[in-house]
Symmetry: D2
Subunit: 363 residues, 4 copies
């Protein structure tokens, strides 16, 4: 298992959904960086279960405890260790003998030869993303002080789509979106999505979706291609978020059916500087930021844990069986994934920025 | 810049399209591994420019020279250094003062403050992918000896799509596909794609597409999530291939509009072993191989270098101008990217396997 | 700051001496590895302060709490998070304004621009080595099950030296040494060292020393030179132990004044296998284990914190001053460093073994 | 094998002494960095064999060919690939069946199961250090432009010692030392060392020695402890230089027999700034530069390849035999290791500086 990521800013997560708790270590911050705890609590609240009728009924306080690296409102220069204790565990909800279809259960069992802890998904629980949000909130604060802002909205839930980010998107829009449980640019889209999720919930089913992210204020030239370009670096982080099954940058998938003359972003002088005049490339060419906003979309599968009867097997008896899950599940995990994805982006981009600034010093 | 990737199998590339040549170092192979040079030459041939009317007229011999790590048909245990010399350079084809829209030119110029070498795209040239194919061919040979096979086809060129891989796909199909310049499962799809590319070429334009990859024979349990799971690890490699703008695993993007009851892969006993009965997950759950074939698709933008007139700027004069590129370009880079993507997968998966087997030893 | 180390076995430490506690994350262990808690407690006890008249009077319980990765006596396959809470903090013992000579205080202040937390040495406290011992104990258990054993003794305290390890050293000797607070091969050496340390204590001074380590049972061929050879890999771990200022392998320093004909270890057939007949090389040539026991020595400076008056400065007033430290300090840190150094070796060697075994699979 | 090292500045070496040549890739330099080729050639000349009666008679041109990353006197921003071709190979000098005592031969054979290429030491040849010097020369030029200078002298050859660096050492002394084949602070020491080496040569034997290095101008605060502190980071590089068997920082080994009151460097205000007034710590405390010059010493074993008869074995026949080596060898490798060690330091410190400056940006 590889539970750490990042180069200059090193992020490690640990914990299980049904043990004492989860946590993370964020290593690489200098001493004296202020951390606004209200802002951190706000971000934690966005991901928290139980905050909407549309999410799981599992309740968690999600109180972040700073175990190290933080003192009197500022970083100490040592690794920041964050702990979030589990308060509401129902491990009996899960039967570790019957793997849940399309969950990690079977794959983990195949990997670990039966020795794995599968209570509640163990370390594969979405619960660990609380640590990503806590650390990501710290990264966002550092970025914001340098004019870099990240926002996101629900691009799609099931068949319902929202409008895409356009040129008018800015920190104000991001703030409005962050306040909504179903953040959409078009308010009507949220209404439609809410009905859809509610219907899935009543059917004991789940539904997937997609999240579009935008990042403003990144310095042109950011990114270390070919192998740690902006796209490659972000992808490793984004696919670390449970449930993500596809990722695109800019017009991404549609670019594959376009001609070059239509796909290319013409370049012009804007305010005395050369800039792409459109943003089908998503702000990045050749792995390097081109001065336009960074734009990407993560596509997520529906929650694997559903309460309708499913075909599965008994691992101990090696025979087919039926699985009915009685636990509390999100009919749609996508809304709660929004702050997680934003956080993953923030951590990744801050890491790239440290490398960028360090290298710039050599010139 | 970060030109190396991989943990136990470390791959570094170097070179420019208009310098002496390009090359790579592949580090981590033990001594005594046989390398079949015919097989390597075959893979190089698949990527080689000029092999079809549909590709660039630029001719390269693409002769691989082993500078180190190889002796009498086998690895020496030291780093394998591969060199591929440039033989046919027309650096005057490019005007480094006018960045090509949607190419890396402008982003590099913004990064390097004008000090960058932009002749022919410099190190951002697709030419460097020859090194990936050479090293990838070595990795594939190691994998094949353990029953692991990777195949790919053109899932889409412009608006034309091919049939997707299904359960019948095996090494024989992979061999047939590898022999075709336009590898498709449905032969008619290739014909339609050929016309489309030809038409783009005559219009001095380009066209994008997508490649679907399948990997058979991987051990269940492979993958080191959360941050070096199969998806996250592959994504960093795949986005290192020039032109890739989106990536999906299994049903990927379509999963985002499905319900869980439809998206989930039911599990059943198959030949005495638990296995997912369908493969919408693409062979991976929670970042770990689940016993099904690994399936992914990379979506590529159309070649940025096109010969129709485009709006751009003169960097030296800071003014808008028109760009007409007279160089030789692929009207569609996707067919030549097929062996590159297969190679990136092979290198990444071999690296994950070394980690997997090392860890297995601890039990 | 870089608080993590290791490639396949990743070790991260965190915490401060005067915060809630210290801890570590050990990532990379498969599920189902048994951990003997008595053995772990025994190792913790060896490092614990207050266990001898010769060590600091500071008392710590050093109770290891498994926050994650451990369940019912075995690893879960997720990252192992260990916490050790601080129980006895006297932060007022330290005056953060006057840096202690040869301690990290001044260097940290210069690094962090005054924002650093210097209470009790902050994260530079030897207290963090408790986490190394806890994680190291887990690694030693894995190694021991494969016949690999690590032992150490005090090679030197001040001017007093012990006999060096010779061919008769084995697990029984290691066990005897581990039971002693002043582990020496020659029992008389321990007596002399005890008097010396006691005298330094009474003089409010401190004394340095050296630790010799021996590792038996490593597979010949272990090591990934040139840059992750056995020596280079161990050195990064060993210099991570506070107070180490020099490191030698085999006859090390004396080799530099020898002739080749005297320094070389002749090779002969031993039990049907080629083996070096002497061990001046310390079991490693070219960064690779040669079949002989691995032998190294770490040289440690005397504890920087002493109670005699010293010249220093007031950082706030930018003027010379005198420093008298009233805290509780070890007159000699070397005995307590013995299990820490053994632990660092164990973690490093286990990491190298995972890489070795993974690579061996490729043949 | 792990042939690459470094984080932000990534260095990979490859090649064998008896193949086409050796080389390196240096990745991480921005575009536009000027490289003075005369200075590079000067450094290469210092390491070159055959330049003195006291070194091997093997002749190499050691011409550095820039294969990539360099154009018109400056870096292009891509990885710098350096090739040095072998011109004078006598592979028949070596009998790969009889391992040379204390050389890597036996360890490599044990590792690779007989598949290893042992002609001339293969990749374990000191020949690869030419690549380190070439890349190191580039790093030194970047450092020198920021006022950072590295110098070294022979601290010991056999029983003869030179005076240690003192406070008067500066760039002028470094320049004088770099011009000498036997660089010593005390000129008489060089004379004595020369006789000693000559005598060893006539006896067909070899002799070891030590090199002391000094680095001036490093910013206080440099170093990322605990695991990538200045000492730990440098040690991984230094032990990558063939023949190094011990390493000390500052008074290093002698500190282990001192008392704290004698070992500690008192702190005082110097020119308005707090500074250690002596330098027994070698310029680093807790892994971080304290404002004093960085001082370290590497201890090297005598050349393992000697021409007197030695006991060894025939690997193919599994029996004891006698080995007489007829090749050309350095009776003392230490003088030629001086620029190699300086280069390793330069590369390591530049890497740490990039990290340091990147992190500083966050404040």
């Amino acid at each position: 298992m590889s539970s750490s990521i990042g180069r200059e800013l090193r992020f490690s997560i640990f914990g299980e959904s049904h043990g004492p708790g989860i946590g993370a270590v964020l290593d690489g911050l200098p001493a004296g960086i202020p951390i606004d705890l209200d802002s951190l609590a706000f971000q934690m609240g966005r991901r928290k279960p139980g905050s909407s009728r549309l999410s799981t009924k599992r309740k968690e306080d999600d109180q972040v405890e700073f175990f190290s690296g933080f003192n009197e409102g500022r970083t100490t220069g040592g690794p920041l260790c964050l702990l979030v204790r589990n308060s509401d565990q129902h491990s009996s909800d899960y039967d570790a003998d019957i793997p849940r279809p399309s969950h990690a259960d079977l794959a983990v069992w195949l990997k670990e030869g039966g020795a794995a802890d599968m209570r509640g998904g163990g370390r594969f629980s979405g619960r660990l993303t609380a640590a990503t949000v806590a650390a990501g909130s710290v990264a966002r604060q550092v970025l914001a002080r340098r004019g870099i802002h990240i926002g996101a909205h629900l691009l799609r839930i099931g068949e319902h789509v929202d409008a895409a980010f356009d040129d008018s998107a800015g920190p104000e829009l991001f703030e409005r979106l962050a306040a909504d449980y179903l953040p959409t640019i078009d308010p009507l889209a949220a209404t439609r999505m809410a009905s859809l999720i509610d219907k899935a919930r009543m059917d004991m089913d789940s539904v997937g979706g997609a999240v579009e992210l935008l990042c403003l204020g990144l310095p042109p030239g950011l990114g270390e291609p070919p192998f740690e370009g902006v796209e490659g670096s972000l992808s490793q982080w984004i696919f670390g978020v449970p449930g993500v099954k596809a990722l695109e940058f800019g017009a991404g998938i549609s670019l594959s059916s376009m001609r070059g003359s239509h796909a290319n972003d013409a370049i012009g002088m804007v305010g005395g500087r050369p800039r792409p005049l459109t943003n089908r490339s998503g702000g990045v060419n050749g792995g390097i930021c081109n001065g336009n906003p960074l734009r990407l979309a993560a596509y997520m599968r529906p929650t694997a844990s559903i309460s309708v009867a499913q075909r599965s097997v008994s691992l101990s008896r090696s025979e087919d069986t039926e699985l009915v899950i009685h636990g509390r599940h999100d009919p749609c995990i996508v809304p709660r994934a929004v702050p997680v994805l934003e956080s993953a982006c923030a951590l990744c981009l801050l890491d790239l920025l440290i490398q960028f600034e360090g290298r710039a010093w050599m010139r």
